[in-house]
């Protein structure tokens, strides 16, 4: 049995065995395409329509308002580029916020290059958007507001229902990236007043490479992918039948266990947070303490760097030690010289952003796993701090005088 402890579930989750089982026939003998008219294809058509209903039931939408995609990145790109394209004659202004995922920010920057204006709203030190800021940013030519539901890195849950009401009153299309919330906390497109919603299968025990975009009837959106007439001519390409069936099954399973699982996970999260705060000095909680995804823990640990924490945990030296997988907002992992833009947007100093550790839970994680992982984390933090030339216990070394005139480009 695999003894590793996977605590990077905001990145991806294990496909549920029941999901896998539901997918198998569609990877094997039932290989017909839903777009064909003979009976072999009709079975596949029926299977994807069942999946559409299962997903609709999870988010309180009409099944016909759901369009299958390759995942949340495609859905986010489609929502932004598709709405902008359809509403270009109405206006060329988008509102989003600074702590969004790159699959929102980069399409927005792409639209900027094409002459659109984008307002990137600030977030507070907990990562929250102020709905009043959204209201104030709406202009005559605003055609789209896009705000994430639960932030993938810091776990902060945005006041989506309030923002949705504002958007609706102003008559502006409202898109919500719900990749981290669907299947983890109750999500209802009516309660949230959203017009578009991005969903990802593999974030809640479904397969990778499949997701959906909810687009409420009447919302104007051009296709992103042109070709065949699939998905009511709005998203071309032969359906990923096994993936879609898996997504549907994952939605059905999530709906069955949602409340209980969500509470259990939040209990484990709070246990981990208490234990970290009791055992580690000089740390910063990233994200809101209570308005938070039930599976997200994120702390910056002063005086050390995130990649070295991640590496130490994932390659333990003791022979019988279990490997532990977490993530970090350090620049070393982002592939740039900059640490996580999300942590910087909260006002976290760069030196602390480099030292962030995200623990994201799944329903497989137990309290024993958490205890084991935390003991390992505390040992690693102690060891790396003992190697650090700048860490002094209890001293705010990151606020040192010489950090003010740091020229990162030249010294990194």
């Amino acid at each position: 049995m695999n003894q590793d402890i996977f605590l990077d579930n905001a990145a991806t989750t294990r496909t549920d065995p029941e999901v896998l089982e539901a997918m198998m026939p569609w990877l094997g003998d039932n290989y017909g395409s839903p777009a064909t008219l003979y009976a072999f294809g009709a079975q596949a058509k029926q299977a994807i329509e069942q999946a559409r209903q299962q997903l609709a039931d999870l988010i309180g939408s009409e099944a016909k308002d759901l369009y299958f995609t390759s995942g949340a990145t495609e859905s986010n790109n489609w929502a932004i580029k598709g709405v902008c394209d359809a509403l270009e004659s109405k206006g060329r202004h988008i509102i989003t916020e600074q702590a969004e995922h790159h699959s929102i920010l980069l399409p927005c920057r792409y639209m900027e290059k094409k002459g659109w204006e984008v307002t990137y709203l600030p977030v507070d030190s907990d990562g929250l958007v102020d709905p009043a800021d959204v209201k104030a940013a709406i202009r005559e030519d605003t055609v789209l507001i896009s705000i994430v539901h639960g932030n993938h890195e810091i776990g902060t849950i945005q006041p989506i229902a309030e923002i949705g009401a504002i958007a609706r009153e102003a008559g502006v299309a409202f898109h919500v990236n719900a990749a981290q919330t669907v299947g983890h906390i109750p999500v209802d497109v009516e309660e949230l007043s959203c017009d578009l919603m991005s969903i990802s299968g593999h974030k809640f025990y479904g397969p990778k490479g499949v997701g959906a975009l909810f687009a409420r009837r009447g919302v104007r959106i051009s296709p992103l992918i042109h070709g065949g007439g699939q998905e009511k001519k709005r998203r071309a390409g032969t359906h990923n039948v096994p993936g879609i069936v898996g997504l549907g099954k994952a939605a059905e399973l999530a709906r069955k266990n949602l409340k209980a699982e969500s509470q259990r996970m939040a209990g484990l999260r709070d246990y981990i947070m208490e234990k970290i705060e009791a055992n580690l000095e000089d740390i910063r909680l990233n994200g809101h303490r209570t308005k938070r995804l039930p599976n997200n823990v994120n702390y910056s640990i002063e005086g050390i760097e995130g990649e070295s924490i991640m590496l130490s945990l994932s390659y333990p030296t003791a022979e019988d030690a279990r490997a532990i997988f977490v993530s970090t907002g350090s620049a070393c992992v982002s592939g740039t010289l900059e640490p996580s833009h999300i942590l910087l947007s909260l006002g976290v100093p760069a030196e602390l952003a480099h030292g962030s550790v995200r623990i994201s839970l799944s329903r497989e994680n137990t309290r024993e796993d958490a205890d084991y992982a935390l003991n390992a984390l505390f040992e690693v933090a102690e060891r790396l701090r003992s190697m650090s030339p700048v860490y002094k216990r209890g001293a705010k070394q990151c606020a040192s005088a010489d950090s003010e005139d740091c020229d990162c480009e030249s010294s990194c």
Binding site: G303, I304, E305, E307, S308, L311, S312, Y315, T317, S330, A331, C332, G335, L337, P339, P349, A350, E351, H354, L384, M387, S388, P389, V390, Y391, Q397, C398, S400, D402, S403, C406, C408, S411, C412
Partner: protein
């Protein structure tokens, strides 16, 4: 992503710590970038590096290159040690990922700074 040598030096760093009453100290990088290295040296007869230690805040590559540079410098004369290049350190570790060559391979600079510090102190005497 990292070679076995990098992982070995990261997990079992050589010469970690600070030389007591060092003859030269070199500090490079800064915490905002995520990397800081502090190299301390003890210089013996014939200007050879008798002891060298490091303390490093940083990623796997930063720690491994620090550890490696101390191993390479020990026993060398100051002139020889000054010639240890970034590339030589990376090569001794079986290579570094390209993005790490630039940002986390500061150890040889730290050593050079420690040697300069020693020389400056000698000049003041």
């Amino acid at each position: 992503m990292y070679t076995e040598q990098v992982m070995d030096h990261f997990q079992n760093p050589r010469n970690m710590g600070e030389v007591e009453n060092p003859d030269g100290v070199g500090e490079v990088g800064n915490p905002q970038c995520g990397d800081v290295m502090r190299i301390t040296i003890k210089v013996g007869d014939n200007e050879t590096i008798e002891d060298v230690k490091f303390k490093t805040l940083g990623c796997g590559a930063a720690i491994a290159t620090s550890s490696m540079v101390t191993e390479m410098a020990k026993g060398k004369t100051l002139v020889e040690a000054q010639e240890i290049s970034k590339k030589a350190v990376a090569d001794a570790l079986g290579g570094l990922p390209p993005q790490k060559m630039h940002c986390s391979n500061l150890a040889s600079d730290g050593l050079k700074k420690a040697i300069e510090d020693y020389r400056a102190k000698q000049a003041d005497k």
